[in-house]
Every structure is written in C-alpha cells, then in structure tokens.
C-alpha cells in the first residue's frame, strides 16, 4: 500500500508516446499534465461544486442572517452563534447526540467485530454468501427497520410479551421504548453493515504467516489476537467507527420515532428550526456547529488512534 503513490508518480513521469497529430482544443488539453488531470476529474469536481460547495456557502451565509416573520434580515451578525452558545438547550442536545451516537458506535463495532472475524478466519467456502447473508437485513428500508424495532421494544412488543408470558415481569418494561436506550439499540442494529464490511476487509487482508510466526514464538490464542490480529485490523476499526459515528450524530428519524421526549437529538432540533419554529438561520447555525463538532471529534479520534498504533506496532 505504502509504495503505490511512488508507483503512480513514476508511471506519470514516464514519457508518453506523442498523440497522433490532434489539433485544437484537445491538443491543448493533452499538452499540460495539470489540465489533463482536471479534465479527468471534471465530472466529479462539477458535481461536488454543485452539490456540496454551493449549498455549504448558502448555509454559512444564512447562519449569519436573522429570521424575521416570513423573511430574513440579511445584515450579517453572529447573534445565532451567540444564542447557540448561551442557551443551554442547544448544548445539551448536541451533547446528548454525541453521547448517543458514541455509544451506538461502540456497540456496533464491538458486536460486528466477532462476525467479521468469524467470516475472515473460520469460513473457507462461500465467503461471499456469508457476507451477503449478514447484510441481508439491510436490503429493506431504513424506516422499516426502525419500525421493526418499535414492534420489538414496544409496550406490547416482542420483548415485553415474552418476559410477561415467562412470568419474569408483571407489568411491561416502559424504559425499552421512547428513551435514549431505544435509540442506541436501533442505531447499533441499523448501521451494523457499515461496520461488518470494513472490519471484514481489514481482517481478511492480514497475512496468515504472521499468526503462525506468533504461535511459533510461543503466543497463545489470546495473546496472539491482542498482539497481532487486533493491531493489524485497526484500520478497519477506525473506518467502521467513523462511518457510523458521523452519520448517526445527525440522525433524525430514529430519535423522532423511538426517542420519546428525553431521546431527542440535534437532528430533530435542526428539522424543527426549518419547520414549525420557522428560524432557518438558527437551523443553519446548528447544522454548521454540528459539522464542526463532528470534524473535531473525528480529528481527535484519528490522531489518538495513530499514536496508539505507532506505540503498539
């Protein structure tokens, strides 16, 4: 992996056979390497500009406005950011969102790791079939899966009915649904596919001879796992954690359906600002703050794991 950039630059520097006399515009493009590079990525670049950069600029601009009845007062001001800092509501919901999705990330990665491990090391035939089977539940709509959990966790749901008919409880457990727990459980299931796949790929890549060497040098299975397998699978763990943490922090539908009054997250608050509360600039501000928080946490996470990795390898 580490030598591939060198290979690419080498390949690029190699003198190309002169293109058969092509004049005009394409000739011009062929001449400059930079221009050729930009031409190659231009569809993606255009799409990124239209789909991400422009909306982002609008979002930043809008966050500096203030809402006024149906319209906006367009004088730039940082009042929204001050309000977000001063009012405890925003900080609390942001904190809760990070907390919930942090737990959801931990739960998902911990639960998915053994599955990925099993397929990578103990399944020898039809591996693809196993992977497909594990991701099968994710072929249904996200909304349906959330609803399914509502049925499982509900007042007369699967868990409560089972516990009651077994005589273990007398009244249904009410903390299962409409609580932050329900959101964590559902997120951990709903995003499992996004953890299994990167974990599987990184485990599958591990050179088996390293494991043999560890055994030869006297490591038992547990020591071997913690000294060889786990450190080598860290890239997968990091990828899976980021893939789950980033989108779940801003999740909207799961807390809306299962969170109850105490399980609301920042995504719901942002939706409310663009909906009934009718304060789009505040919504834009919250969206930007959320983005900055996620970026900061993801940055810290990557730096920490890099330090840890350098230590143990």
């Amino acid at each position: 992996m580490s030598d591939s950039p060198a290979q690419i630059s080498e390949a690029v520097e190699r003198p190309e056979p002169k293109p058969a006399s092509r004049g005009g515009f394409s000739g011009l493009l062929q001449r400059s390497e930079v221009a050729r590079g930009y031409t190659l990525i231009s569809p993606t670049l255009l799409f990124l500009t239209l789909g991400i950069v422009i909306p982002f600029i609008i979002l930043v601009t809008m966050s500096l406005w203030t809402a006024q009845g149906f319209g906006f007062d367009m004088t730039p001001t940082t009042a929204n950011y001050e309000a977000a800092w001063n009012q405890p509501l925003y900080g609390a919901l942001l904190g809760r969102s990070l907390w919930i999705s942090g737990w959801a990330t931990v739960a998902t990665v911990v639960l998915s790791y053994p599955m990925a491990y099993y397929v990578a090391f103990h399944v020898h035939r039809n591996k693809m079939l196993w992977i497909v089977l594990m991701t099968l539940p994710f072929w249904t709509s996200y909304l349906l899966r959330v609803f399914a959990w509502k049925v499982v966790l509900g007042y007369e749901g699967v868990i409560n009915s089972a516990l009651m008919s077994a005589g273990l409880i007398r009244a249904p457990l009410e903390f299962l649904l409409y609580s932050p727990n329900a959101v964590v459980i559902t997120l951990a299931h709903a995003w499992a596919a996004f953890a299994i796949l990167p974990l599987y790929v990184s485990l599958e890549k591990i050179d088996r001879s390293l494991l043999e060497a560890a055994t030869d040098l006297g490591d038992g299975p547990v020591a071997r796992f913690f000294r060889v397998t786990f450190p080598l699978s860290l890239p997968g763990v990091i990828a899976a954690s980021l893939l789950i943490f980033i989108p779940t922090t801003g999740d909207y539908i799961t807390p809306a359906l299962l969170g109850g009054p105490d399980g609301l997250m920042i995504g719901n608050l942002i939706q409310l600002q663009f909906g009934p509360v009718n304060n789009w600039p505040m919504g834009a501000t919250l969206a930007i703050i959320l983005m900055l928080c996620i970026a900061a946490i993801a940055g810290i996470f990557m730096v920490t794991t890099k330090i840890v990795k350098d230590r143990i390898l």
């Binding site: 809402a67 009845g69 149906f70 009012q87 405890p88 509501l89 609390a92 919901l93 039809n126 509900g154 007042y155 007369e156 249904p172 009410e174 409409y178 109850g260 009054p261 105490d262 609301l264 608050l269 409310l272 663009f274 909906g275 009934p276 509360v277 009718n278 304060n279």
Partner: protein, 375 residues
C-alpha cells in the same frame, strides 16, 4: 444466458468479472427504467390535482365525486403532520393545488402571498355551506372570494380509557396533568393544539395570548406537564395504538381518535372538560400557481359533498361544513358524537381558536419545542 446459469457460474468461479458487471448493469438499467414506464402511462390518463393534507384525510372515501369526473382516479396526496410544517414546505417552493389549514392560520397563510381566493360560486355545493363556518375572522379576501372553504370542524380534547383512568369528579383538563398517571399520558406534538390547551388550563383568554405574561403562565403549565408525558407526536395512529394497548391511559387527541377506538371496541371516551374543549374549523385553500385549477375545484367540491360528509361524521366523528349532511343522521347519533346540526352551539361552548401573528406563532413554537426538549 439465464439467471440460474449465472448463479452457477459465479459459484464455480467461472464467470469473468466483465460478464458479471455486464449482467449487473443490465439489471440496473432495467430497474431504473421500470418506474419511467409506469409514470408515462399515468400521465396519459390526465393530470390529477395534488391535495396536501393531514394524515388520515388521504382516503378514497372522500373522493367518490372526484373520481366520477376524473376517470376513476383519486387526486394525488401529499401528507403533513402539522399545519406549520405544511406552510414551511409550501413557502420552500412545494407547489400543490389544494391544502388543508385551520381557521387560526388562515390570515397568516393568506399573508404569505402563496394562495388565491376561492370563488364559492364555482362550487356545486357552495350554497350548502353552513354560513357561520365560512364567516370567519380574516377569511374574506379583499377582491372578493374566500381564502378558505371550510370542510371539517371539531374539538381537541382528552380521549381516555374508561377502565384504566379513575375519574375524580368531573371531566377536566386536569386529567392531562394528573400525577397519578405519570408516564402514561400522551399529547399531540404540535403547539397548534397543545399550547392552546395549555392556555385553557392556565386560564389565559385567547384574545390575550400575545403577552409576555401569557407566555410565562402557559409555559409554566406546559413545563409542569412535560415529565408526565410519555410521547408527544403528530401521528394520531401512534396515540391511538398506545391508548388501545393501555400504554397510555389518556391523551390529547381530536374527535376521530376516540370514535375510531370506540368502533374497535376499546373502552374510551372523548371528554367534555368542564373548562371547555378547544374548538376549530379546518378547510381548503388553493395555491396561487395551482397547476390544475379545475381539478382543484373538483377536490373541494368532492370534499363538500354529502357522501363525503356522511363518512366524515359517521366514521371520523368530525363535523362537516355541508348543512345537508346532517339530514342523514338523527339527533341522537349526532349528540352521541358530540356534534349538532348547529355548529355554532358546539364551537362557542368550547374555546374557539382565533388567528395570531406570524411572530407569535414562531415564538410559541420555539418556546414549546424548548419545553418539550426539557428546558
């Protein structure tokens, strides 16, 4: 090359990557073009009006008359959970033909400049509308016509389980503040209902809602209620299911929840609180750029028809705006549903919603959302 053969080839590792990609692409193109065909077919049968309405109003039972005129097709439906959400979407550029707000939002909706007055004389059933329902504050457009044609009217009150809720004395709004049932009470999530109920509970008259004192008083009442509430939702089905299972013993709902649960045999009652219920009239407004104006009028006419009214009163328990609908019911049935041939009687017995400013609406929603989130 058939599908089974391909699967076999994959299993034996004989299929090249290129062949596999090609078949995937074929499947993808096939899937992507299927909906195109269906859409082209539908468009050929004539464009239908889009009706933007509350969940539960998107049913074929309301559109028998419309279907007669439009080759058996229903209008297209778009659903909202709360009327403020609907206005935000329309302001964001969502063009519909007909939408379904309530009387207290009419002046604000009209002020957005996104609606056109409705010409009542163009409606077949226009003359049958109960006059008191169309003669609402802010409903007359300046150049003639009405902003909103009334369709349904009713109450927001408490639906409670007669077997689970132990009533102390008279029915009252205190039932939704009853600490004995902490965590077993539910509420509609929109401020357009809940906040007004808070005003009744706090004893603030509706013409004095827009004062700091009113916000303080009502806010205090809502904060007191919040820890008792298991769920705030705009989805009436969720409330109905929770009431049916006994997860909730009482909830703030509209008439239809109680009537539907009673029809299912669940022992519930729609309370007549001694302080008075919250009463409202909802109706239909036409978008200023309605793409199918003719069909839009047909939607309104179909909703005003007696046939629709019979379903609305009998199955949903709401009042209808067509005076002739009530000839289909005897006095006893109507009383049982908490309705009357004379809607003014019912509407004035409760607390009738009155229009507020946009500033008030935004401030109220912001405050209420904050309280719901626990602050």
């Amino acid at each position: 090359m058939d599908v089974l053969d391909q699967l076999g080839a994959v299993r034996e590792g004989k299929m090249s990557r290129r062949a596999f990609t090609r078949s995937l692409m074929a499947a993808g193109v096939g899937m992507a073009t299927v909906p195109l065909g269906a859409k082209a077919l539908r468009a050929a049968e004539g464009d239908q009006a889009t009706y933007f309405t509350w969940g539960g109003y998107d049913i074929p039972e309301f559109f028998a008359e419309y279907r007669e005129k439009h080759g058996g097709e229903n209008p297209d439906f778009a659903i909202f959970g709360a009327s403020e959400e609907a206005l935000t979407k329309i302001r964001g550029g969502f063009v519909v033909d007909v939408s379904h707000p309530c009387n207290q939002s009419v002046p604000r909706w009209a002020a957005s400049g996104l609606f056109q007055p409705v010409d009542r004389s163009r409606l077949t059933h226009g003359a049958d509308i109960i006059p008191e329902l169309i003669d609402l504050q802010g409903n007359d457009a300046e150049g003639g016509g009405n902003w909103m044609i009334p369709f349904d009217w009713g109450q927001s009150s408490i639906t409670y389980r007669t077997d689970l809720f132990e009533l102390e004395g008279e029915e009252s709004w205190d039932m939704l503040w009853d600490k004995r049932y902490e965590g077993r009470l539910g509420s509609l999530g929109a401020g357009a209902d809940a906040w007004w109920v808070g005003a009744i509970k706090a004893g603030v008259p509706f013409d004095q809602l827009d004062t700091d004192e009113a916000f303080e008083k009502i806010g205090a009442v809502m904060r007191e209620q919040r820890p008792l509430i298991r769920m705030y939702t705009d989805d009436t089905t969720t409330l109905e299911q929770a009431l049916a299972s006994g997860e909730l013993v009482a909830a703030l709902t509209w008439n239809s929840s109680a009537v539907e649960l009673q029809n299912e045999g669940v022992p519930v009652k729609f309370a007549q609180p001694k302080e008075g219920a919250l009463t409202w009239v909802c109706g239909l407004m036409i978008h200023k750029d309605a793409p199918n104006l003719e069909a839009a009028y047909d939607v309104i006419d179909s909703l005003l028809s007696v046939e629709t009214g019979k379903f609305l009163v009998g199955d949903y328990g709401y009042g209808h705006s067509n005076a002739k609908t009530y000839d289909e019911f005897d006095e006893e049935t109507l009383t049982g549903l908490g309705l009357s041939k004379d809607p003014t009687e019912i509407l004035s017995a409760g607390h009738f919603q009155i229009p507020q400013t946009q500033e008030w609406e935004s401030k109220m929603n912001a405050t209420f959302e904050q309280i719901k989130a626990g602050f």
